[in-house]
Symmetry: C2
Subunit: 482 residues, 2 copies
């Protein structure tokens, strides 16, 4: 009997019928990332039912030297949950572990398994008048464990921070199968290194998140959604500062949309209607929220914010959503930009950030720079101006061949954009992580001292390199297969 | 020439007259911690002028195997900045590095050297209408670097978090003399492990913090300071929940004070006056704050908070400070508890936390448990109920001999208290860190898996063990001296 079958037999005994499969049909949909960019092979798909089973499986993998690819909702943006093509790894799915372990609504905390889907989390806490202040497009599939492993962002980071800011406690299985238990939510704990912070955002390369305790907030009683047209991106930045000063307690979202993206959405979704009558170079979507205590005055706040911004000549035109349906319609425009831009043709997408105060200047200078370096390419930046984080798309020249363009000129354009970001001392991955997509670019552009530190930490916590090898940071020794 | 003199000569050449001294008089005050609990010896006192000099000195120490004890204001609570008695280490003082590198008041950020004193930071940003939302008793000496190395707490953690929450960017020198530069404040950055988080709270054992970028908040326009008497600690906990619901945007501090501590302060400070007329088992000090936008309604909010709490029968009596002087007087009572309790006689102090929702039960059950296990000993818990963190003092029986009691029964009492905290799955160090004071208790009580992880990280980042050896977590290999 080969090592492979010995391992699979042992995994089967350990996890039972539901817990381990090598069935090609069942495995198929988990071997490719949701955007269809990466496809791999796997020895099997493990779906443990609890933390103990995860720990036992990791010990088994360590014994046989089988690499592990942890996977939640398989909705990551950088291929971090897709195995390589060797077929030597096992996919460790956390989806079966989706229990809510403890919901302390008075303390505004919830403890849940890693496989809980974000939408379910939202629904559960909203039923008790609370909210979980992080959301994103993939909420119907993204799991708590995946959100933690990738330190996910979304549209509420401006006010509430990314996933790191929501995690009060954490449980994880380490590379040797030991259980790291820091699930208890201590508001203050200075017993040495905060290893929980190291696991958040480590993309399954240092440990496998199995459960978390998350903070909750009082539910929203009221929201005001505003749409404004401004003349240039630097004015949008001044409007952001104005909104932060005017409504510091209420400002929840501040998204910028260039005319190109606005018009692309109007063409792409025939049902969508422009919020403002005239054309504007830049559009700004602002959300203000209030809990019950502050709800009464929210409409006044929204009005006075726009009035003072007009007096300061920051805004050309603006409107406030008159109903929840209209508010949703405004957000749908924002959320349709990616598919609308994609419908135009091939494009390279970049998830970048520079310091918040520099982003307007970065856009104003880098967009023409890219367009002049690559004639026919159009650069479009939209998104979270309040976080200094935009999605920077470089759209192929008209007539470019899909597939071929990305692999050829597109790659050169991406390196150009990443070089610009690095010159501004920004990041080539603001919220999507490194995965396998950006592992070479990280190695090319990161500070060598920081890369060395990451490798030292990876080497210390996963010396055999069995946890998600080939992702984020590569070791010499990793990926020993059977 | 011995290795020692060769090292000292080289250090002298590197740092110059002001930068390196072996003068016993100059060194003396830095060889003992401010509470006078720990005294050590040192080869010399290095005071580099900038990050480059720190890096060069660390390289020199690495070459000669000289251990380094980083030191800021020398106002730590756990002996983390005091060298051992071998005299083999060099004290690396950051106090000469106290420049403000960049103050971006519009972006509400400041970048400063590690040696900047907290009080100076407060004064600098307040002059621009901003505030730095962390303060503590030692603000006249505590430095930014020390606050980061110990992840300091204070009385505003309830609303604003501890030091970790204030740090947007960090610069540090690692054990090999390389410079870790993550000073640029990116609101979102998912390029792998967040090593900055690992350095925060590592007490100089993984790297030496040389600079930081910190977040600032709009200055306070108004505050309301409330004093309430309640009947028991569980009611205090219900009052906390009430205040969090009633004034979620304004609640800044929530401190509990037992009758014993209240009365001790009244005896200790003859000028102090009781805020309330009658006796109460527990006192609660509440601070509400408002920025300019919300200042108008703050007095109303304070009044309605107390009225509704009285209707709910949470409060026996209460008062609102009628002037800034009275507000200061209320806080002075709170800040006088430690010296007042100390004036009574020997005591063991414990800096502990359990989850916020469990702290009232913990106090209600543990105080009588300690007092019955050790007849004559009195247990007193006071402080940050809103953080689930209290200072738990065990006061020696009357007539106990100072010095002897702490070394004998005191030690047993401390182990008893720490065992109780551990049974509640709390922490034996909520805000003061481990230093040398709690290194044995941490080794005794911590989860072995977590200790092993900490050792693995320490081993990976400081393999020769030259950074603050003997503190926080001990390695076999560390502390190689000349």
């Amino acid at each position: 009997m080969s090592d492979t079958s010995a391992f699979c037999d042992a995994a089967q005994r350990l996890l039972g019928e539901r817990g381990f499969t090598r069935d090609a049909d069942i495995m198929a949909s988990w071997l490719t990332d949701w955007r269809g960019r990466y496809t791999g092979k796997a020895l099997g798909l493990a779906s443990p039912a609890n933390t103990r089973e995860v720990a036992d499986l990791v010990k088994l993998c360590a014994r046989y030297g089988v690499p592990i690819v942890p996977q939640g909702g398989n909705s990551g943006m950088s291929g971090g949950a897709t195995p390589d093509e060797s077929g030597a790894s096992v996919i460790l799915s956390l989806r079966r572990m989706n229990a809510i372990r403890h919901f302390a609504s008075e303390a505004m905390q919830i403890t849940c398994d890693a496989g809980l889907v974000l939408q379910t989390l939202h629904d559960t806490v909203e039923a008790e008048g609370l909210r979980f202040p992080l959301t994103l497009g993939g909420k119907g599939s993204a799991t708590v464990g995946g959100l933690i492993a990738t330190n996910a962002g979304g549209t509420q980071v401006l006010r509430h921070g990314n996933m790191r800011a929501q995690v009060l406690g954490l449980e994880a299985v380490m590379a040797d199968g030991s259980v790291f238990d820091a699930l208890r939510a201590l508001k203050k704990d200075n017993r040495g290194f905060d290893l929980k912070q190291l696991l958040i955002g480590s993309e399954g390369t240092l440990g496998i998140v199995t459960a978390a305790t998350l903070r909750l907030l009082p539910g929203i009683a009221e929201r005001a959604v505003l749409w404004a047209g401004v003349n240039d991106i630097r004015t949008a930045r001044r409007l952001l500062l104005h909104a932060q000063r005017h409504a510091p307690q209420a400002l929840e979202g501040f998204e910028v949309i260039p005319r190109h993206s606005h018009d692309a959405v109007m063409r792409y979704s025939p049902d969508s209607r422009p919020p403002l009558a005239g054309p504007h170079h830049w559009h700004v979507l602002i959300e203000l929220v209030a809990d019950r205590a502050a709800a009464a005055s929210l409409a006044d706040l929204a009005r006075s914010l726009l009035e003072t911004a007009m007096e300061a000549e920051l805004i050309e035109d603006a409107t406030i959503a008159q109903s929840e349906a209209q508010a949703e319609a405004f957000w749908t425009i924002r959320d349709s930009i990616s598919p609308a831009e994609r419908a135009i043709g091939p494009a390279m997408q970049h998830d970048i950030a520079v310091p918040v105060e520099d982003m307007a200047d970065f856009i104003a200078e880098t967009v023409p720079k890219v367009e002049s370096a690559f004639p026919g390419v159009r650069a479009v930046a939209f998104g979270h101006l309040g976080d200094g984080n935009v999605h920077f798309h470089a759209i192929a020249p008209e007539g470019a061949r899909p597939g071929a363009w990305e692999a050829e000129q597109g790659k050169t354009v991406s390196r150009f954009v990443h070089d610009e970001v690095t010159a501004w001392r920004g990041t080539i991955s603001a919220e999507h992580g490194i995965g396998q997509m950006k592992v070479e670019e990280l190695a090319r552009l990161a500070d060598p001292a920081q890369l060395a530190l990451m490798r030292a930490v990876k080497q210390a916590l996963d010396p055999a390199g069995i946890l998600n090898p080939g992702k984020l940071v590569r070791l010499e020794t990793e990926g020993k297969s059977l």
